[in-house]
């Protein structure tokens, strides 16, 4: 199960809406081993594409260095789908390389850049196996 604050969830949704129709991506880091999604980090989609995302390689490097210095890990890795449902694509599954992370998918296909609800779902992706999990949103930030 993914437990996430409404503030962090809203930040992910806002990023996805802002970048629509391109895919948005980022991380929520937290203390190692805590499973607490605390520090929201927006990343640049170096692919700048409506069908693909990739963290910029130098931004990725700095992110991991920073997490290492702070004893953090990527608790959540999120990205958006802009024309399809919030379910991991074959590429998402093939490239997933953080077995400890919650992979959050948001779909902006219904409302694009506008107000309105978005699909917000979370998965574990381990060795090519996708398992959807419950998302619990808390009010603390």
């Amino acid at each position: 199960m993914l437990t996430i604050s409404s503030a962090v969830r809203d930040a992910i949704v806002a990023h996805a809406k802002r970048d629509h129709p391109d895919e948005a991506c980022g991380v929520v880091a937290g203390p190692e081993g805590s499973d607490r999604a605390e520090r929201f980090v927006e990343m640049i989609n170096a692919a700048g594409s409506p069908t693909f995302y990739e963290f910029d390689s130098m931004e990725l490097f700095r992110l991991y260095k920073e997490m290492d210095e702070r004893d953090e890990e990527p608790v959540v890795i999120y990205h958006s789908h802009t024309a399809t449902e919030a379910y991991p694509s074959r590429t998402d599954i093939g490239l997933a390389s953080e077995p400890g992370a919650h992979y959050v998918l948001v779909s902006t296909r219904e409302h694009g850049n506008s107000e309105g609800p978005v699909e917000f779902r979370s998965y574990r992706i381990i060795d090519g196996e996708v398992t959807e999990e419950e998302v619990t949103v808390t009010e603390e930030s």
Binding site: E54, Y64, H79, E98
Partner: protein, 94 residues
Amino acid sequence: MAIEVRIPTILRTYTGGEKAVEASGSTLSELIDDLESNHPGIKERLIEAKDGQSDLRRFVNLYVNDEDVRFTGGLGTELSDGDQVVVLPAVAGG
């Protein structure tokens, strides 16, 4: 020649869970061969054959002293004692 290599979570199965290991080599290519001799199987996760030549896998990033090796000569990037190599899988998808 000792070079520290930082290993990402997904490849720690090859290093007995170690986050960092030591290896040696005067180029990145040699370093990866040396890694392979102590951690069999790891090379295949870093390198693939492309047009008959070996190259870094598209979705693996390697950095030498904070620089992406794609901009410093790829597998031919020269290394010296005390350098730090970081391996990070790309975070990407569709």
